[in-house]
């Protein structure tokens, strides 16, 4: 039986200022899968995630999501783009760039209100998720006055509130204290249990066993050098060395 893929990437490359950032990437991601992109700094993880989120476009190569092509042209159709963004949520590494409203509650309600939900329903959803994240008491604060971990939680909640089917996290645990990190890891796993597809990028492989069903390793040549289950990746010391993920002792 043919597997139903959420994403199908064929021969995807991307250059930025004449520098190759992604080099001939072939990748399929299935529904309800937890995929972790692992690689050193500057290997193209974030760019690949932005391509999956329809923010950047493959050049050359083809990206298909939910059986539809994701190109600059197709994403210019506002209706299509809005529906796609409802299905795909993206949590940026730097939460500051994602938060633009004057209060936390407004921030979280932005998505549901844009989707056309009633004010009451949007508020109910927002408060429910803020309570779950333990930041409901910040609802009237400006997001910019919060700490890094709290901002990250607001960004995640603002993304979750539209109930996307795919969640893309760019370095979600970067710069967070252990408590916030644990909260995010547990939240991601709970989301996956609820049927969400998770795509994570990190260069810390300590979280691989907890967070991934499949690991994709990119190296400094901006290519995929491994695509396997976590045990196989973590057990391959040579591969981790080649990908500059561990240091030689």
């Amino acid at each position: 039986m043919k597997q139903s893929w959420v994403y199908e990437l064929k021969n995807v490359s991307f250059s930025y200022n004449q520098q190759t950032v992604l080099n001939q990437i072939d990748l399929n991601i299935a529904l309800n899968e937890r995929v972790m992109l692992l690689g050193p700094n500057g290997c193209g993880k974030s760019t690949l995630q932005k391509i999956l989120a329809g923010l950047l476009f493959a050049d050359p190569g083809t990206v298909t999501a939910f059986s539809q092509p994701i190109t600059r042209k197709t994403m210019q159709d506002k209706h299509f783009a809005a529906k796609f963004r409802q299905k795909v949520g993206f949590v940026f590494q730097n939460s500051d760039v994602q938060l633009f409203c004057t209060s936390v509650l407004e921030e979280v309600m932005f998505g549901p209100l844009s989707m056309g939900l009633s004010f009451g329903e949007a508020k109910e959803r927002a408060v429910e998720l803020l309570t779950l994240a333990g930041i409901a008491h910040f609802r009237d604060c400006s997001p910019h006055h919060l700490s890094g971990g709290e901002k990250k939680k607001v960004a995640i909640v603002a993304c979750l509130v539209t109930n996307p089917e795919v969640l893309i996290f760019d370095e979600p645990t970067n710069g967070l204290d252990p408590k916030s990190r644990r909260w995010i890891i547990n939240m991601i796993n709970e989301l996956n249990r609820m049927g969400k597809t998770i795509i994570l990028a990190t260069h810390y492989f300590e979280f691989v066993p907890e967070l991934a069903d499949r690991v994709i390793v990119l190296d400094e040549t901006h290519r995929i050098i491994a695509n396997d289950v976590p045990e196989a990746i973590l057990g391959n010391r040579e591969l981790l060395l080649a990908a500059n993920l561990i240091e030689e002792k």
């Binding site: 200022n17 004449q18 932005k50 989120a53 923010l55 999501a65 939910f66 059986s67 539809q68 092509p69 042209k73 197709t74 994403m75 210019q76 159709d77 506002k78 209706h79 299509f80 783009a81 809005a82 529906k83 796609f84 963004r85 409802q86 299905k87 949520g89 993206f90 940026f92 730097n94 760039v97 994602q98 938060l99 633009f100 409203c101 004057t102 932005f110 998505g111 209100l113 844009s114 989707m115 056309g116 959803r125 429910e128 998720l129 779950l132 333990g134 910019h144 603002a158 993304c159 979750l160 539209t162 109930n163 089917e165 909260w183 547990n186 939240m187 709970e190 989301l191 609820m194 049927g195």
Partner: protein, 307 residues
């Protein structure tokens, strides 16, 4: 902490993605800004690459190059000969080609703005009504008009008007061309070093240096902001929402600029900044630098002789 997610999250948004409708030119303001920022970043990368290429002006010592170009700008500003100005413009084109810069870039960076801005402003000056003189081309004659404005019976383009307009255009193009040449063949850090050596106020040069560096950083940040916004547009965006986002982004950038400037100041102080712009390069004059300077001086003398 309870990790039980609400039940409404169990249900998928449902329905497949609709078929995208393809049409021409439907880019929104976010896409347009993203494209513009990308263009600026690419241009910046190309400029840096260009100043490292092997070309005639890239070989010249920055201080001497700057002085030579300054001499030629002065000559272009004071000359009374149109032929001299035309010659300087030709020399600029030649230097563009010899310095591995494209002539297309010269046309876009120099002649396009000159014709668009200076050109439009000098058009009225070529007609007999503004600049009387010898007729070159008659626009109309024997026309009577006595409305709120009394038009002359005859209107023509004058030789004197065209001559004056040519002066303004060639002078602007020569100055702009020379400055563009300097920017395209010299790294920004070298330009600021030259400015310090030539006695420009150090604080001004430091501000210029920091502005250049942080504009790049802020452009990258703005790019992320735009993507952050795009990633959350899950429905139709109202005009008021667009305006409010633009307003809040401007405010955010003001806040960030203040925050950054404070941190940069502390970082500079902690690394021993005492108000002086450090001059890092030693001037080593080679034979071709002297040849270049002699040629520029000869051109300045030529201007004086012709005038």
């Amino acid at each position: 902490m309870d990790y039980k997610l609400p039940l409404w999250m169990n249900t998928a948004v449902g329905k497949e993605l609709p078929e995208p409708k393809l049409s021409w030119n439907r880019r929104n303001y976010l896409d347009k800004t993203v494209t513009t920022i990308h263009t600026v970043l690419v241009e910046e990368a190309l400029a840096a690459e260009n100043s490292n290429r092997k070309g005639l002006l890239q070989l010249i010592q920055p201080h001497i190059k700057f002085t030579g170009i300054l001499l030629l700008i002065v000559a272009s500003a004071v000359t009374k000969s149109l032929w001299y100005l035309a010659g300087v413009n030709l020399l600029v084109v030649l230097l563009f080609m010899l310095s591995a810069c494209s002539v297309k870039a010269y046309v876009i960076r120099v002649w396009l703005p000159v014709l668009l801005f200076t050109g439009i402003s000098v058009i009225p000056g070529i007609i007999s009504w503004i600049t009387p003189g010898e007729a070159l081309f008659t626009i109309y004659s024997g026309f009577q008009c006595s409305l709120w404005l009394t038009l002359p019976q005859e209107l023509f383009i004058t030789k004197q008007g065209v001559f004056a307009a040519g002066f303004v255009l060639f002078r602007s193009a020569a100055s702009l061309g020379l400055v563009t040449l300097l920017i395209k063949t010299t790294r920004w850090t070298e330009i600021t070093q030259v400015l310090v050596r030539l006695g420009f106020p150090e604080i001004g040069v430091t501000i210029l240096d920091l502005t250049y560096r942080y504009i790049y950083l802020f452009l990258l940040l703005l790019l992320e902001y735009l993507m952050g916004r795009k990633s959350r547009l899950v429905g139709c965006e109202s005009q008021s929402s667009k305006i409010s986002w633009i307003g809040s982004t401007i405010a955010d950038f003001f806040r960030l600029t203040r925050q950054y400037s404070q941190e940069i100041h502390y970082a500079m102080l902690s690394r021993g900044y005492n108000g002086c712009h450090p001059v890092k390069t030693k001037i080593i004059v080679r034979w071709f630098d002297i040849v270049y300077l002699v040629v520029m001086l000869a051109l300045l003398l030529c201007c004086w002789r012709i005038s």
